[in-house]
Symmetry: C2
Subunit: 211 residues, 2 copies
């Protein structure tokens, strides 16, 4: 497998391929041509060939792609077969939604703890986990070595929390707060989900289209 | 104000400018140079000048940007001063998080209804709204003409729901489901939030960086 110099825009498309291929598998399909895949995904066939060639190319001329094989390969490229330990910090509405809504196992993660600073929430059971006191983050990390933290806390608490987590060996973050982690920790691995920004972009598009 | 031919990548950055400027306002700052703004936002100064020039340019040579003015202008470009009526379909964990977590008013939206198909949830009060039966979507839309719908439902129900909403005059969607709205409604205005894809991208990045 060649994984060198692959642009983030290609990587960004891989989850979508993965989801589409999963659906095709569920439909019982075994192979698909790049043309058919392109129609389903609304990408050009040459785009698809180009994307998948980045990883060495899976298709056979005149046969198309073996769906199960391609699905497994993309899953492996995305490293979805791991079991990296994850914690969620913040058990408000967003933390609850993330903990209950996401199938972590499917993506190679394993949720091992949920934390909150609010005594009224600590001790509650969410998604099978007793919410722990955020004050115990440091000792928890020392004992269980989580690899990634999901930040579902307001911006004003995020800086202190990331400091503790970073000192405890966590360098990967799924960040729902508006705290700019990379600004303070340039070497961290960060994926931001900025719901506000998404809503503002939609607002703009609606205005442009006269919705 | 010139708003022609602005690329989506510039538009995508505007919410971030807007958030940053809001923080500066809170800090009591009145003006900022593009260099200072660039350091804070980790964009190049020339990138910032280029972005803001798309809209006619706000800065004055040697003075910098008037923060309140720029903030208001970007808010106006993003049309955050409207009060477009919005409904949420799906009152599960995700719908609850979205309804309670987002400050719709701040972004020019007004939440007017939450819907679910589950009788056990219908009638419950969430974020100040009694959850309505999804069966009543059509008549609700006829009466209150919401302009945008937030889809917090599983993919398998999304197709039917979007059909009803589309027939009821809604053409804008904030889509948390994996249903491909644009595939079936190419003229719709859609902003997708694909949490699964984001998590998969993070998985890839973690693997690349050896986290």
């Amino acid at each position: 497998m060649q994984e060198k110099n692959i642009s983030m825009s290609v990587i960004r498309r891989l989850p979508r391929y993965y989801r589409f291929l999963e659906e095709l598998l569920k439909e019982g399909m075994e192979k698909i041509s790049s043309r058919e895949l392109s129609e389903r995904m609304r990408l050009t066939a040459s785009q698809i060939r180009q994307d998948l060639n980045c990883f060495g190319g899976f298709g056979q001329q005149g046969y198309g792609y073996n769906i199960a094989e391609l699905h497994a390969e993309i899953g492996s490229i995305l490293h979805l077969n791991g079991d990296r330990r994850v914690i969620i910090v913040g058990a408000g509405n967003l933390g609850r939604a993330v903990s209950s809504h996401l199938d972590f196992k499917r993506f190679g993660f394993k949720l091992i703890g949920i934390f909150d600073r609010d005594p009224a929430v600590v001790g509650e059971k969410i998604a099978g986990h007793i919410v722990r006191d955020a004050k115990t983050l440091r000792e928890f990390c020392a004992e269980y070595s989580p690899k990634m933290a999901i930040l579902c806390i307001p911006r004003e608490f995020a800086g202190d929390t990331v400091k503790v987590l970073s000192e405890s060996g966590i360098s990967a973050f799924w960040n729902f707060s508006h705290y700019d982690i990379l600004g303070d920790y340039p070497n961290a691995t960060v994926e931001n989900v900025h719901l506000n920004d998404s809503l503002m972009a939609l607002s703009y598009e609606m205005e442009q289209k006269g919705c």
